[in-house]
Each structure stands twice: as structure tokens, then as C-alpha cells.
Symmetry: C2
Subunit: 440 residues, 2 copies
């Protein structure tokens, strides 16, 4: 899936690479501002960031895909309305609080859009809002209003990196990916991921900017296709957030582009960002990549792949560098049995790290192979597990991705034309630490 | 769900209660034997137990329900055949290795049944085999054969407790439940649970013995109904094992019973065992009980309940005694959205520990309520989290259940007649420790 095979020796090297990717397409500006506030719901002060992405001229060529969660956040409700508007000129994003089912949530979102619009010389309906963070809390409207001018003042036309940092919550590092298209246009995307990432988007916010002159309908079709093949094929913990949003904006400031090259570029940026989101998932020490083929159809293939990457028992085994392939088979068999997906064990072939582990309905294991499987898991580890200093609080020792390797799982079922590729992650002490104590 | 509200001050008190429950119904004997062996697949010696349950006279009144996993273990394949046999006289269970997709697995199971039958004076087809443990390894046939006479020699007619201990893997304590029926008959059940427990059974082995004079057809109908309302409504980690088995045997040695009383008793024993299995799930510090009503139908209600207890983000929050109710709403909304279950947020009411947390589409939270919600979580904790001595290896400090309290979640959707009750558990450092390093 990844279009790159990068490795970084340290944070500085990763930072230099991010900077090299972050140049804004023509016609866009980006910025962010941070501030402190005290939430209504708890007494401890919290820190919030407001990020802004703006167009030099509002555009009709915009597209967005939102969560299918039945309790969508207020910004998602507002964002869905925006899809019918003639033009969009800015995106306003806050982290820390997701504004879901909060009293007056939609009004709060709209008020912030109107205030930002006032500062930017736009109509309120030309601003799309996004919020991510704690579900259930109310936005600190006054504090956010006060911080808006600083966010506007931070706008600049050279780099998207400050905005990529502004939308982070528990992300360890910002995520920026780009595609440079023949003819001079580019697509630059940023993502905020971390936890609560599963099918049909995640507590995942993604913004894709391009100066390619594509129309609204074309952009919307290309985005729907790219999202299905990227963000809908990943899962960190099977949870789908109430705030998932992917937005694409086209300024049209560059010269003409080939339609196929544009679609391919958009898909590549989305896939790269999707993998970045998994690799920087909360507590992730191993990325798992599952390729399923020979399933009855593509839907079944994706379901089986997701079942494998979502199996807590397999995820914990991978965390421990334990090639407990029985759990892989159990997860596959559970999903097939539960969904009534035809699966003939005697025709299936499973591999892990290129080693055949099951064939003809029988495990193919020996002590030497177990050692090679363990070595594959160790090589895919982003960092080795270290004891928590206080015995409870596990923190990743790095804030950059060391490499783009993954635990490679292949499932060949020889039962039809369906195939899929799914990305997931292990389940670690770092994940539990992060999520047992995220709010406080 | 629990028919009891027990609490135990220490292991000895729990042990005394277990002993009081463990009297065998008339016509049964039970026993177990332990031994060491070296697995083919790894070099480290391992310990296995063989447990035996026998009838004084083989019975035609037996029933069994097996996993729906598409990779069933060899004993499940053999067990399904046994359902067509005229009589059953014994059940032979081993822990440590589950005999799934192992070369010669079915032959190994049958050979052990034949050897046990020889020692017990039964036909080979009158012995039902069960195996639980590591998936992918082969049974140590010679070592098991050698241990069989000791298992037969251990048989006695007074207590099922040795067998309940014999089938344990990572269980912290044996699970025994009983129902004494009017007229003198009884139903006594044992369960082995721990991890890999989800819908449609688990790495869960359950054996139910009764001296009630019920026929084969009646027993099979009653068991199917009881399993659906108990073991199919629990989930520790959403994984369904390749070996799940529930067996019921009736000796007919007691006087006549009322049919309804028998069905109710069987259901109660199954529900109590199901809750025991969750409470003693791997690394479980909180049991979660979700009651859903007002769903379009019972299936939807159970799906929504399972989605809540299976949300890793909610499970980790509960582990941390953090009433992060936003994650509860996110999990509910995700499932409804993904499955197309009609759900009107404005008609939903959600409570946690009896406190209304969402109503009319809006969260109902304040600082005082947050404190009460936290207190509810703390009260439901089986033991407080303690730092791992080595910073990595978390172990439960108790091997008995302190109480039968649960985190109580109620979801009222006002959208139909469907209701369900689902049990699940939190996701803790103890779970990760247990499962990242179970085999070695």
C-alpha cells in the first residue's frame, strides 16, 4: 500500500522530510493558534488549538465525506449542510473537544464559522467547521472567539505544517503527504488520527488541498473513490468516531491536469495518509498489513481482513512479538462463521512474513519457522517495549516513525475473485495507558 | 442477569462456597490428572491436565452446541459426529493444546476416546472429546495415553470440583454453578473461560450434568435456548474460538421434574456460568452489563449491546475508572450507522450506574455527576490496578471474585420492541500482559 519506503534516524530527519513535503499548493494559506481554557465539565485547565486553512478566493470545487456514526458531531451536521453551498473559502478546526451531542452544539459551530468569516471577509456559509477530541464536552466558545484573530494572523502561504500540527490530539507527530502532478499542480494532504480509527473513517480529520483545476463533481467522485480505497481500509481499534471528516478543496490556480493522473495522485495521498494514521495510532508498535484474495467478493475480503486486524488476541500476540498464528486462523474462522462467508479450510493458504503457516487445512509449523516468524515481527516493531518507569504509564519513546515496515499477512482462499488490503495495528500497554487515562 | 449477589472476603471463603455447590448429581463421576510433556513445536516443558466426566450408565439424553468458527478444532468435528450416536458415557477434556488444524488431529482425538473407552468399559463412540489451549500445536499423544489411567483412577462420585479445576487454562479459579430442582433433581455445571470469548461461544468449555429424567429431544431444545440467552450474550474480547463447546448430559437417576422448572434451572445455571466466565476473563477488572431496550428487534438490540462492550476505547476508559461516556455514545452510534439500525438520538436515553448521561440527543453531564459516575466505576472494580513489579508484567492480585457487581449501562432507544442484555469487560494492562506472552 505505501508509495514510499521511508526510514528516519531521528526526529530531526523526519522533520526535515515533513518540511520538504509541506509546501502549499497555489491559492491556499494555512495557520494555527494555541490557547488555554478551563472546560465546563472538569476543573483542570486544558489546551486547545485552532487551525485554519483558507483559499485566496472561495471555490465551488470542494468535496467532503463524513462519518456514518449515528451520533454525528455538530460540525458534521453543519458540514453536511455546507455541501450544498455554492462556495467554500475556509476550514476552521479545533482539537481537544469534539462538540458531539452537546447543548447548543450546532449553534456554537455556526457562531465560530460566522466569526471566522467576519475576520476573513467571507460569508459564514463559506466556512466549514471541524472539531475533534473529548465527546460530550461543550466548546469553550468565549475562549475560542478570543483566539480566532491569532489564528487568522498566523496564516501564511508557504507551508501546511503549522496546520498539520494544529489539528493533532494524541498524535505523536504531524502527518503530511503530497503528490506532484505532471504540469505543475500538486495535492497536499494532512491528517489527524490516533485512536478511534475504523471503517468508514475514524477520529480522523483529513484535509486535502490542490491547485489542480478540477470541477466540483469530478472532485467529489474522485474523493469518494479514494476514501473507499484508503481510509475505509484501515482500523486501529475498530471504533468509528462521531467526527470523522475528509475534506478536499481545489483552488484551480494551477494549469490543466490529466484526469487520471489527478485521481491516481489523490488516491496515493489518501493511502499514504491512511498508513501514516495507522503507524501513528495510539500505542501502535506494529503495523499489520493483511492482503486477502480468493474471497467470494471484495466485501467479504475486506470483512475477513478487518476481522484479522481487529482480533484483540492476535493484536496482543503481535505486540509481544509472538507468532501465535493459531489466533490468526481463529480470527479468520470466526468472521467467516459469523458472517456465513464460504471458506474451505482445505483450500486456504496463509502466510506470515512470506512463510506458509497453514495449507491444505493443516498448520505448517516447526521450531525453525517459529524463529523466523518471530524475527519478522521483531523487524516490524517501531520501537521495543520498555518497562513503564512507574510500573503503569507506558509512553512511546519516539515521536517519529522509524520505518515503514509492517507485519505482512497474506490470506489466499481460492474461493472466488474477491480481494482486499487492510491495515491495522497491534494492541499494546501503550494503547491501554493512553486510553485508560486520556481525558484527565 | 446473575441469580446471586455473592461476595467473598478471601480465597478460602470462595473455595468453601465452590465446594458447597459442587456435589455431583446422581449417576455421575468426575476426576482429573495432571502431567508434564514437551510440545513438538517448542522446547520448553508444558503441563497438561486430563479431566473426565463419566456416567454410571451411558445415556441417550445428551446434547451439545459447538462453535461456528470456520476452522473448528478436531474435537469439535468428532463431537458433531457424536450427536448422532445412540448413547454417550463419558467426556474427556484436555487443556493446554486445542488440537485445531493439526496434522492427524481427528485421528488423535478418536484414538484418545478409544483408549479412554477401553479403560471405562465403553464403546469409543460413547466418549466425547474436548480440547482447549494453544491453536496450531499437536496433541502429545503418547504422554496423554500414559496419563489416562490416572485420570480414570481419580474418578469419584461426590464432587465436580476436581474436573472444574482440570479444565482450566488461564482461568484464575474454577467455575461451578448449580440449580436444585423441586423433587430432588439437580443441575450442576462447570465452565472454562478466560480469553477468546465472544458470541456464539468462546474458548469456552461448559459441561452441564443433571440427574433429571429428561429425554434427548427435550434436553437439546432446552440447551439451545439456554445457550442463546447466556453464553451467546457475553463477550470478553470479541474473539470466538475454534473449540467452543457446551455439553449437557442427563443421567435420569432422579425422580420426575417439572419441565418448566428444568428449563428455568438450566437457563439459570448457564447464565450464572456465563457471568462467571466474564468475571474471570483474562485481565478483567470490571464486568460491564448493558441492557438495551427499544431497539427495532432483539437482534439489533444484542448487536448494539455487543458493540458497546466490545469498544476498545470504552473498555480502556472503564479500566481507568474514567466515565468517558462520549465513547459509549460513539460505540453505539458506530454500530447503528454501520449496520443501518434505525436510531433517533433525540429519542434515546442512556444511563450509567443509574445516572442519566444522555437524553433528547444531548449529554446531561456536570461535575458532580462525573464524580458519581467515577464512584460507580470504582465500586464495580474487582481489584485496583497496581504497578507491575518489573514495569511490564501485570498480574491480578487475587484468584477469587470479590463481588458480583458490574458497571451498569442502560440504553433505551424508544424505537421498537427489541431488547437484550449483554455482558462484557474492560480492557486492562493485565489483559495485554496475559495475551502478549501466553504461549511462552
Amino acid at each position: 500500500m505505501p508509495s514510499t519506503s521511508l526510514s528516519f534516524a531521528d526526529r530531526a530527519a523526519h522533520r526535515a522530510w515533513l518540511t520538504s513535503q509541506a509546501g502549499l499548493p497555489r491559492g491556499f494559506r494555512a495557520g494555527a493558534a494555541a490557547f488555554e481554557f478551563v472546560p465546563f465539565e472538569v476543573e483542570k485547565p486544558a489546551r486547545m488549538k485552532l487551525a485554519l486553512l483558507t483559499l485566496d478566493a472561495p471555490t465551488g470545487a470542494f468535496a467532503a465525506v463524513f462519518t456514518r456514526n449515528a451520533f454525528p458531531g455538530a460540525p458534521v451536521l453543519v458540514g453536511r449542510r455546507r455541501l450544498a453551498e455554492p462556495r467554500l473559502g475556509a476550514v476552521l478546526v479545533n482539537n481537544k473537544i469534539s462538540n458531539v451531542c452537546a447543548p447548543g452544539g450546532v449553534e456554537a459551530s455556526e457562531r465560530l464559522c460566522a466569526e471566522a468569516a467576519g475576520l476573513l471577509g467571507l460569508a459564514p456559509s463559506e466556512v466549514l467547521p471541524s472539531s475533534t477530541g473529548v465527546i460530550g464536552w461543550r466548546l469553550p466558545l468565549e475562549a475560542m472567539s478570543e483566539a480566532l484573530p491569532a489564528a487568522v494572523a498566523s496564516l501564511q502561504g508557504s507551508s501546511i505544517l503549522p496546520a498539520a500540527e494544529g489539528i493533532m490530539t494524541t498524535d505523536l507527530y504531524p502527518k503530511v503527504r503530497r503528490a506532484d502532478l505532471p504540469g505543475g499542480a500538486s495535492i497536499v494532504g494532512i491528517a489527524k488520527g490516533a485512536g478511534m480509527v475504523e471503517p468508514n473513517l475514524a477520529t480522523m480529520l483529513v484535509y486535502l488541498l490542490t491547485d489542480a483545476p478540477v470541477g466540483r463533481a469530478e472532485l467529489r467522485a474522485a474523493l469518494a473513490e479514494a476514501v473507499d480505497q484508503s481510509f475505509n481500509a484501515i482500523s486501529i481499534d475498530s471504533d468509528t468516531s462521531t467526527s470523522d471528516t475528509v475534506v478536499a478543496l481545489a483552488s484551480g490556480a494551477a494549469g490543466p491536469v490529466d484526469r487520471e493522473a489527478f485521481r491516481a495522485g489523490l488516491l496515493r495521498v489518501c493511502r499514504d495518509l491512511a498508513e501514516d494514521v495507522v503507524r501513528n495510532g495510539e500505542g501502535v508498535r506494529h503495523v499489520m498489513r493483511v492482503r486477502v484474495r480468493g474471497a467470494p467478493d471484495a466485501t467479504a475480503a475486506r470483512q475477513l481482513g478487518k476481522a484479522i486486524v481487529n482480533s484483540p488476541l492476535l493484536k496482543t500476540a503481535v505486540a509481544g512479538n509472538d507468532p501465535n498464528v493459531g489466533r490468526l486462523v481463529a480470527a479468520l474462522g470466526k468472521e467467516a462463521g459469523a458472517r456465513g462467508i464460504a471458506l474451505d479450510p482445505s483450500r486456504a493458504q496463509l502466510t506470515l512474513g512470506g512463510e506458509v503457516i497453514l495449507e491444505g487445512g493443516l498448520f505448517q509449523l516447526d521450531r525453525e519457522k517459529e524463529r523466523r516468524l518471530t524475527a519478522h515481527l521483531v523487524a516490524a516493531e517501531l520501537y521495543p517495549q520498555a518497562p513503564a518507569p512507574d510500573g503503569i504509564t507506558f509512553r512511546p519513546p519516539i515521536d517519529f516513525p522509524r520505518h515503514e515496515r509492517a507485519v505482512e499477512i497474506e490470506v489466499a482462499l481460492n474461493g472466488g475473485p474477491g480481494q482486499a488490503e487492510v491495515l491495522g495495528a497491534d494492541l499494546t500497554h501503550e494503547y491501554v495507558t493512553e486510553n485508560a487515562d486520556y481525558r484527565s
